[in-house]
C-alpha cells in the first residue's frame, strides 16, 4: 500500500477542514446570494488548486521520491500495447571439413559448389566435374 507523505497528509487535513468550514459558512453565516456565490467559488478554487499542486503536479516533477515498485497496473486495451516481432536471422554456414560428395575422399579444405551447395574435393569442385544437378536444370 502506498503511503502518503507528510505534506500530502497535511493537505488532506486542510482540505477536509475547509470543506466542513464551507458547509458551516454557507449554511449559517451568509445571507446575501452574491456573498454565498463568491465564497463558494473562492473556496473551491483554493482547495482544488492546492490538491492539484500537491497531489498531481509535485510528484510529476519528481520532487518526491517514488516508493519501491511493488504494484504495477497495465493498460486494459491490448491494441495500445506495442508488440515487437524480431526479424529472422540468416546464418550462412561454411563447411571446412568433410568428405567429397562425388568420390567420397576425405578433404580438409574443400570447396562448396555455388549451384548445389555441395562439398567437393579439389578435383571435382567444378560443376562439370561432379555433374551438378542444379546446373543441368538450368
Amino acid at each position: 500500500m502506498y503511503k502518503l507523505t507528510q505534506q500530502e497528509q497535511l493537505v488532506l487535513i486542510i482540505g477536509i477542514f475547509s470543506v466542513i468550514l464551507l458547509i458551516v459558512e454557507t449554511l449559517f453565516f451568509t445571507s446575501n446570494l452574491m456573498e454565498k456565490t463568491l465564497f463558494l467559488g473562492g473556496t473551491t478554487i483554493g482547495i482544488s488548486l492546492l490538491i492539484i499542486y500537491i497531489f498531481v503536479i509535485q510528484p510529476m516533477k519528481g520532487q518526491i521520491r517514488p516508493p519501491p515498485y511493488n504494484q504495477y497496473y497495465t493498460s486494459i486495451s491490448p491494441a495500445f500495447r506495442p508488440t515487437i516481432i524480431p526479424a529472422p536471422k540468416k546464418v550462412k554456414k561454411t563447411i571446412t571439413r568433410g568428405s567429397c560428395e562425388y568420390c567420397g575422399k576425405k578433404e580438409l579444405m574443400g570447396f562448396t559448389c555455388s549451384y548445389c551447395e555441395g562439398y567437393f574435393c579439389t578435383e571435382h569442385r567444378l560443376p562439370e566435374k561432379h555433374g551438378c544437378v542444379r546446373m543441368k536444370l538450368r
Partner: protein
C-alpha cells in the same frame, strides 16, 4: 514530452462539438436568445477539453503513452441524447498505456474532476462580478455544468475516475468526493430543478 497525434486532434474536435451540442440542448430550457446560447457554448468548451487534457498531460508527465480516442458507438449515443431527456455525454476516453503504479492511476484520474471543480469555481467568481443579469445566468449555468461533470466523474463506479481514486486511497477519495458533492449542492442554481426532478421544464 507532451505531444498530440493527428487522429487525436480530430477526435478531440469532434468530441468537443458533441459535448457543446448536448450541453446546449440542456440549457435551451433556461436561456432562449441566440447570443446567450453562443456565449454558453464558448464557455462550455474548456469544461470538457481541459478535463480530457488534464488526464492526458498528467499521464504523459508520468512517462506513459497517452492518447484521446473517440468511441464511435458512445459518440452516436451521446448525439442521440440531444433529443432524449436523459443526457449522457461520453464520446470518448483517454487511453494510457505503459507500466504504472496504483497511485499514478489515481493521480491521473483525480486531475480531471479537480480541473472541473477549479473551472466551476472560476466561473462562479466571474458571475458574481458581472453587471448584466443574463450574463450572470450564463456563467452560473456553465459552472453548474462543470460541477455536474465533476460529481458524475467522481462516482465510485468501475470505469469512472472516482473508482480509480478509491482503489488508491480512501481518504483522498472522501475529500474530493465531498468537495464535489458540496459544490454541487450549494450552487446558487437549484441542482434538483436543473436535473428535472422538480419539473423545472
Amino acid at each position: 514530452m507532451y505531444s498530440f497525434t493527428e487522429t487525436e486532434k480530430r477526435d478531440l474536435l469532434i468530441g468537443t462539438a458533441i459535448f457543446v451540442l448536448v450541453e446546449l440542448s440542456f440549457a435551451i430550457y433556461y436561456t432562449n436568445t441566440f447570443l446567450e446560447l453562443l456565449i454558453l457554448g464558448i464557455l462550455t468548451i474548456p469544461l470538457w477539453l481541459f478535463h480530457e487534457l488534464a488526464h492526458k498531460f498528467v499521464a504523459q508527465g508520468n512517462g506513459l503513452v497517452s492518447d484521446f480516442r473517440l468511441d464511435p458507438n458512445m459518440a452516436i449515443f451521446s448525439l442521440f441524447s440531444i433529443v432524449l431527456p436523459i443526457k449522457i455525454i461520453a464520446p470518448g476516453v483517454v487511453l494510457s498505456s505503459g507500466e504504472y503504479r496504483l497511485d499514478t492511476a489515481g493521480r491521473i484520474s483525480m486531475a480531471g474532476p479537480l480541473t472541473n471543480i477549479l473551472i466551476g469555481g472560476i466561473f462562479l467568481v466571474f458571475s458574481s462580478f458581472m453587471p448584466i443579469d443574463w450574463i450572470v445566468v450564463v456563467f452560473l449555468l456553465a459552472s453548474r455544468f462543470s460541477f455536474d461533470m465533476a460529481l458524475f466523474n467522481m462516482l465510485p463506479f468501475y470505469v469512472l475516475d472516482g473508482a480509480k481514486v478509491l482503489r488508491w486511497n480512501q481518504s483522498i477519495f472522501i475529500l474530493i468526493f465531498s468537495l464535489s458533492v458540496i459544490a454541487w449542492l450549494l450552487h446558487p442554481l437549484d441542482p434538483l430543478r436543473i436535473l428535472g426532478f422538480l419539473g423545472g421544464y
